[in-house]
Subunit: 151 residues, 2 copies
DNA sequence: TATGACCTTGGAGTGCACTCCAAGCAAGCG
DNA sequence: CGCTTGCTTGGAGTGCACTCCAAGGTCATA
């Protein structure tokens, strides 16, 4: 239903070192779901919203994911847990699809994301400090005199 | 409209060192919104769902937040950006309201949260490594040979 | 005292990221 | 052949965390 688009080969950015299970380069949607922890629903949804490249199909129209698709999903998974909105990831995917002239924009986006991640790590370390202080209080002195806000 | 509930005094857990702006211990909802970055809508919503203690009211029924309420909101803010669901924070608030016999449960909850935070920091550092590799690629070699997945 | 900014309420609406559904096709097996 | 399992689609539904609205009361200031 869709002729396979332009295939700029070699693997994504830094050549992902770990090739996925078994030999072939062709996985069903449920295999991919098992590998990634996403549901098949979510994988199809990612495709609909433009977060995925055009996925190969079998002669009967079923999706056949490649190792490179899995690499992409790896990246998406990583970006997802930085809190990056799906819309931004779609934007990045679009830049990749648009070709080499978007290198600058992609670099920018990655740099910005990097800054976000650093900031989030700092926030979490801050929170960790607060938790540690609270936990220390509950551990000893707290039992006698600590009090919190509710009621 | 609400007689002020039991007031276990002294400040929350570890005595928060920084007293908030100006002298008094009484802030309007919009002042609190300004301090915390939350909207007044959100502050009222937090109250409705049981995430806040019973807030003092002026003689005409307007909310008057205390420094201790601000301390609580500080904690809530920190927990919020660990990704803790609001429902869990409500649970914690309930434990505090229920009194001293919930110390164990509170301690548990904080410990678990601490573990989550550590895990999330680790994930983010992992993601950071991926981003750094990708950025390095875009910085130099990438310009010639990198390729991603979409299309 | 009147104007405008601020506060109150219950309930409805929004945006995000899924998550599921119904109807239907295709492949493998006893 | 019939059955089960797995895949397909568009579209509708869900849960979370807000976010806003309408209608009305309050407060400071010119």
């Amino acid at each position: 239903m869709e002729t396979t688009g332009t295939r700029t080969d070699t693997c994504a950015g830094p050549p992902q070192p770990d090739r996925r299970p078994d030999g072939q380069d062709s996985y069903t949607i449920s295999e991919v779901a098992a590998f990634t922890g996403l549901t098949a629903h979510t994988l199809r949804w990612y495709e609909r919203i433009g977060l995925m490249p055009h996925i190969d199909r079998s002669h009967t129209g079923q999706r056949r994911y490649s190792n490179r698709d899995l690499d992409w999903l790896d990246l998406v998974g990583k970006l997802r847990l930085t809190g990056m909105p799906v819309a931004d990831m779609v934007r990045y995917a679009e830049l990749v699809r648009e070709g080499d002239h978007t290198y600058g924009a992609r670099y920018e986006l990655l740099e910005e994301t990097r800054r976000d991640v650093l900031a989030r790590i700092a926030e979490l370390q801050d929170t960790l400090a607060v938790l540690d202080r609270k936990i220390a209080f509950y551990g000893d002195a707290g039992h006698a005199l600590a009090s919190e806000r509710p009621r």
